[in-house]
């Protein structure tokens, strides 16, 4: 370990975002289904959301003046890391129940881990964010773990 991660950076582990509550509409499902090249009628008609629709529902809606010059929204859950070049990331998603028009869903994101590993061409920083999506009965709808790598 080269000890890139300061106490201050590591102290962000466990931080949680403000819960976000959104309503699912047929129109949003239809737009998502069309834009992803879907060809199944149940999704194109918006009767039920295709898997991965939660990405659309909970992508941060930020004002234009809060985007960085390359057009990216800054994730307020993350500390400033000593490495900044993002590499491939991975997703691990569990679908607990289907999403339908009219559903009110609430997403909470937690920064669950930050760690360092030696890569072939230098140190790498990994971080993990878990997003839980629940319905109004507090039942899990989707659990998603994102792992990102910085070099």
């Amino acid at each position: 370990m080269s000890g890139l991660l300061s106490e201050d950076v590591l102290s962000h582990i466990g931080q949680q975002s403000e819960p976000r509550r959104e309503v699912v509409t047929r129109r949003d499902i239809r737009k998502y289904a069309i834009a992803t090249d879907n060809r199944q009628a149940k999704y194109l008609d918006g009767d039920v959301a295709p898997p991965l629709f939660h990405l659309h529902l909970f992508w941060d809606v930020v004002p234009l003046n809060e985007l960085s010059p390359d057009g990216v929204s800054i994730d307020s859950l993350l500390p400033r890391f000593p490495l900044e070049k993002a590499m491939a990331g991975g997703l691990d998603i569990t679908y607990h129940k289907p999403i339908k028009p009219g559903d009110w869903l609430t997403a909470t994101r937690t920064l669950t881990d930050i760690y360092e590993k030696a890569g072939r061409s230098g140190p790498l920083i990994f971080y993990e964010v878990v997003m839980e999506v629940r319905d109004d009965n507090n039942e899990l709808v989707v659990t998603e773990k994102t792992t990102r790598i910085l070099r």
């Binding site: 069309i34 834009a35 930020v62 390359d70 997703l91 569990t94």
Partner: protein, 137 residues
């Protein structure tokens, strides 16, 4: 669901042509303003990409779709693990597909190894999807 799962079986593949209009609509539907997806001078001159980069989660969606189309109403996708390893660029045609790696007839759980690959057969987006089949009639 056609055909029924057997271990080692490849499910029907699906091609996707990545075009500008679809990229625009997809990223707009997310509220994703990242310039590498729509600003050619920025993507090529500033970031050094050979073209506009296809959004990573869109290829993740295609992994789901190739399995979901094979499933039809016979079951639902219960989980996925995938990563975006290599980029695809607007103008390319990519192919999504998968192979059944496990099938438990008692529980109806199926596991598939899935991929999106480009015309050079590079696997861009490898993944594993689990599916729960509904009990038969």
């Amino acid at each position: 669901m056609s055909p029924a799962p057997t271990v080692g079986m490849a499910i029907p593949e699906r091609q996707h042509h990545c075009d500008e209009v679809q990229q625009m609509l997809y990223n707009a539907s997310l509220w994703n303003g990242h310039r590498i997806h729509f600003d050619v001078p920025y993507a090529t001159e500033v970031e050094g990409y050979p073209g506009l980069v296809v959004a990573g989660p869109l290829m993740g969606d295609w992994l789901h779709q190739v399995v979901d189309e094979w499933l039809g109403d016979a079951g639902m996708i219960t989980g996925i693990e995938y990563s975006n390893r290599i980029a695809a660029y607007v103008g390319e045609t990519v192919t999504a597909g998968g192979t059944v790696t496990a099938y438990d007839e008692a529980t109806g759980e199926v596991t598939l190894e899935v991929f999106v690959k480009n015309a050079r057969e590079d696997v861009l987006t490898p993944g594993v999807i689990t599916v729960q089949l509904m009990p038969g009639p």
